[in-house]
Subunit: 144 residues, 2 copies
C-alpha cells in the first residue's frame, strides 16, 4: 500500500495534498500503468476499464479529455480520437491503497469497440454466459 495514502486514510474530508505528492503515491505496475475504471457520471454505468500512466493522468487532468495508455498499441489512447466517442472528464479519484483509479466521465455514444454503450455486455451466471446488450452504434462506422 502507498505509504502516503496509508498515512492519510484516517483524516477527515477536506484534507489536501499537492499533485506531485499524489501522483508519486500511486501504485503503478511493472509497466508503469494503473487501471482506470470509467463510469458515466450521471447514470452510474460502468463503461470500461483501461490503463493510464502518470503522463496520461496529467494530460487527462490538464485537458479535461480522458487519455489512456493502450497496452495493445503501445501508445497514448485519446479516447474518441478515431471513433469520435470521446470521454470528457468529470472527476478522477484514487482508491485507499492507490492502485486503482475511478474516472467519472461524460461519454459520447458507445464506449465499447463493438458499438455497445459499455464493455460489460457478457453476463456470467452458474448456468453459463449470455450476451445481454446490443450495439447502439454500428462498429463499422466507428473505425474507418
Amino acid at each position: 500500500m502507498s505509504n502516503f495514502l496509508k498515512s492519510i486514510e484516517g483524516e477527515d474530508q477536506g484534507l489536501k495534498a499537492d499533485l506531485d505528492k499524489a501522483l508519486v503515491s500511486l501504485k503503478y505496475n511493472q509497466d508503469g500503468l494503473i487501471p482506470a475504471i470509467a463510469q458515466q457520471h450521471d447514470t452510474g454505468e460502468v463503461l470500461m476499464m483501461a490503463w493510464m500512466n502518470e503522463a496520461a493522468i496529467r494530460e487527462t487532468l490538464e485537458t479535461g479529455h480522458v487519455c489512456y495508455w493502450s497496452r495493445s498499441r503501445n501508445q497514448y489512447w485519446r479516447k474518441g480520437e478515431s471513433s469520435g466517442n470521446q470521454q470528457i472528464l468529470v472527476s478522477l479519484n484514487v482508491d485507499c491503497d492507490g492502485d486503482t483509479l475511478l474516472v467519472k466521465v461524460d461519454q459520447t455514444g458507445a464506449a465499447c469497440h463493438t458499438g455497445r454503450r459499455d464493455c460489460f455486455y457478457n453476463e456470467i451466471t452458474k448456468d453459463g454466459l449470455s450476451i445481454i446488450k446490443d450495439p447502439i452504434q454500428d462498429p463499422n462506422s466507428l473505425y474507418k
Copy 2:
C-alpha cells in the same frame, strides 16, 4: 483478446455459452487473477476493485456471496467474513476482451477497510488531492 469472446462480439443479445467455456476464455494475469470491479447494484456506486481467480469466481456464482483472492494475504477473501460487511452477488459480467469483471452487489455497510462506504474517497484534480468522503463506520469496529 480472448478468441472465444472475440468470436461472439458481433452476436445479438441472447447468445449463450456454457460456464466452462466462459471461464476458460477469461484473460487471467500471470498470477491467475482477473480484476473485479464491485458496484452497488441499485445506487451505481463503484465500491472497490479487487481480484478473483477462477475458483473465486465459481464460488461466488455458486454461493451468491462474493469471494475474492487477497493478494496481500495470499488467500481467499470472503468479503465480510471478519468485518460483517458482506457483498451479496446480484450479477457478474465480463468485458469484451475478457480481462475485467464487473460484479454488481448488495453491500452491507462500508466496503472500504477505512470505514468509508467505498474506497475511492481521494479525488485528484490538477490542483492536487483532496479527501472527499468520511467514514460511515468506525474502522476499529470492523476488524477486531
